[in-house]
Subunit: 338 residues, 2 copies
DNA sequence: CTGAAAGCGCTTACAG
DNA sequence: CTGAAAGCGCTTACAG
């Protein structure tokens, strides 16, 4: 028990004893067993993290941010759902069995059993990558619906009128609820402007990436050859669409403007650079980590349950005006909302 | 203890008792505490995974493969080193404290303390993403040196002679030992062919990605304007180099051929598609997972300590011959080695 | 087939 | 400032 004290807080042990213990630890290569420690102290220092996939630079950034903000004393327990609600339920159950002190979920959060388990877990639950007004417990994110609206508003502000959006199928099981919210925001904005809903193309299943964007663009160019502006629900998909245009000799942004989402490094480094909606992916992780540490230490009760980190429109090389812009709305940025 | 039996193996409990237990479990929402279970059974069912970074699609693929092969009963404990050996040591120590049953390391594996801890851990250690002839314990990967040689051989076979390779600085801490091995293999091949070592440009620090490739290419085009072929140590870097060429109006592959490494989805979907060296990133994870399960169950002792999954040259749109190809070596594939 | 006992390796009070 | 005792919630033999 004295060893335990030396390792936990050396200052409360007499210098001479401390030295003796340290020497023994060194010689034996003693590494304390945190499994036993966790059981005894009822603190595992685990934080569970549930993501749809890790092959998405945004989610990778979020988990890096979370790991950094939690610091060395907490260990992340990561699981992937592949956008499947059944898999998510299995994952929540097995993570909870490890007795994490908090659970961070960017999954689809669907089955009733999942919700019940989360509610009854007795630990802080943080839903990330969306900012619902009434989260299960807490939320850190932004409004995906607003992101879709902002994309539409930007394309409209350039004078473009024949618009489309590409995402994945919404009513199947793997499915991407956040991407769907962006599509709906996009359609809603067009409706507000009284120009129909545009063409909302739900193609293939989540997760969407390069190949998805290329395939969807191929379909779109065939069925709507005069399309002027396209919003893809992720930068990966936007990149695929851009490459498909290049293959078909369709000029971007000359003939069609393309707008992505997520501000991936890929889009910044691409030539032309991809116009996008920036979200602070790493910041979502960092903010979540800080919130959890507060909650673990009994602080943070006054933090609002839903934290909205906002979005920002970033116009770059893949969008351009038609010349006939009769724009009422010239803003290129949503700014920060909270 | 009967509850424990029902949950572990229902068949050994009388049907009636079993039913009673199941009903109670259901009603109470009982989730067994694996922390206590682990301590008692001395099996945590944890597998530690140490990666340089998750923001690299290859490593993300490897971890997905590993997770799938290990299956539901094992939980991955993931840590990032950011290519820093000190961070790696800290990570190994804290992972070992969780008493994993196996440890998978794609880190840089540098400090003496790290090696000592790994040797004394008493669990299977699998080094991945390289296949050294004498691993610490076991290894699953391929030869990075051979990958570099293969890249050089491919560029030479196209008749290109003014060659260069771009990677990151080798003698600092963060540094990428596997990327460096590729550079050295590249230089070695050129030497074998008696045409010097080419220009080996070690620029910036690991990890290398899009922006790195662009910056390195900028430097290279300035100091070696007549360069004919470039090997980048990752497809991310190759993509950045390709974009930089486009910005500067340098035709690829017309004026300069570019070759990457890793066969990222990005390179396949890019236009022109990036010539690369394919490694089976997900397969490395899968193979490692299967090996670990064998070892956990007392099998797999006869498996060779070092498993080489081989590499394959994949010529695509960013490399083309000069016309003056006096190639002795037309092979476009390394095939599978073991 | 089921239950009582011991113990996994720590931490947390509690004495001294 | 340091040590002896109890206990965290399971699993593993061992009896019955």
């Amino acid at each position: 028990m004295t060893v335990s004290r030396v390792l936990a807080d050396p200052s409360i042990v007499a210098p001479e004893t401390r030295e003796r213990v340290m020497r023994a630890v060194e010689q034996l290569g003693y590494v304390p067993d945190l499994v036993a420690g966790s059981l005894s102290s009822r603190r595992t220092n685990f934080v569970g993290l549930i993501l749809p996939t890790l092959t998405n630079s945004n989610f990778a950034d979020t988990s890096q941010g979370l790991a950094e903000a939690l610091g060395q004393s907490y260990q992340l327990l990561i699981g992937y759902t592949l956008y499947d609600t059944g898999e998510e339920e299995r994952l929540v159950r097995s993570l909870l069995a490890r007795r994490p002190q908090g659970l961070v979920v960017a999954g689809t959060l669907h089955t009733a059993a999942t919700r019940r388990m989360l509610m009854n877990a007795g630990i802080p639950i943080v839903e990330i990558w969306d900012a619902p007004s009434a989260p299960l417990d807490r939320a850190v994110g932004f409004s995906n619906f607003e992101a879709g609206r902002a994309a539409a508003r930007h394309l409209l502000s350039l004078g473009l009128r024949r618009l489309a959006a590409i995402g994945s199928e919404a009513d199947k099981d793997p499915h991407d609820a956040r991407g769907e919210a962006r599509l709906q925001g996009f359609a809603a904005m067009l409706k507000e402007e009284g120009i129909g809903t545009g063409r909302i193309l739900r193609h293939g299943s989540a997760p969407v990436s390069y190949a998805h964007g290329a395939a969807a663009m191929r379909v779109l160019l065939k069925e709507m050859p005069d399309v002027e502006g396209v919003f893809a629900v992720s930068d990966g998909s936007a990149f695929g669409a851009l490459m498909e245009c290049r293959r078909q000799g369709v000029e971007v942004p000359g003939r069609v403007s393309i707008m992505g989402f997520g501000d991936f490094e890929l889009g910044r480094e691409c030539e032309p650079a991809i116009s996008t909606i920036r979200v602070d992916a790493k910041g979502i992780g960092t903010r979540t980590g800080l919130l959890l540490r507060d909650l673990f230490e009994g602080r943070g009760q006054e933090t609002p349950p839903s934290i909205d980190l906002g979005i920002e429109v970033v116009p770059r090389g893949t969008t351009a005006g038609t010349g006939r812009s009769h724009d009422r709305n010239q803003t290129s940025s949503e700014g920060r909302r909270s």
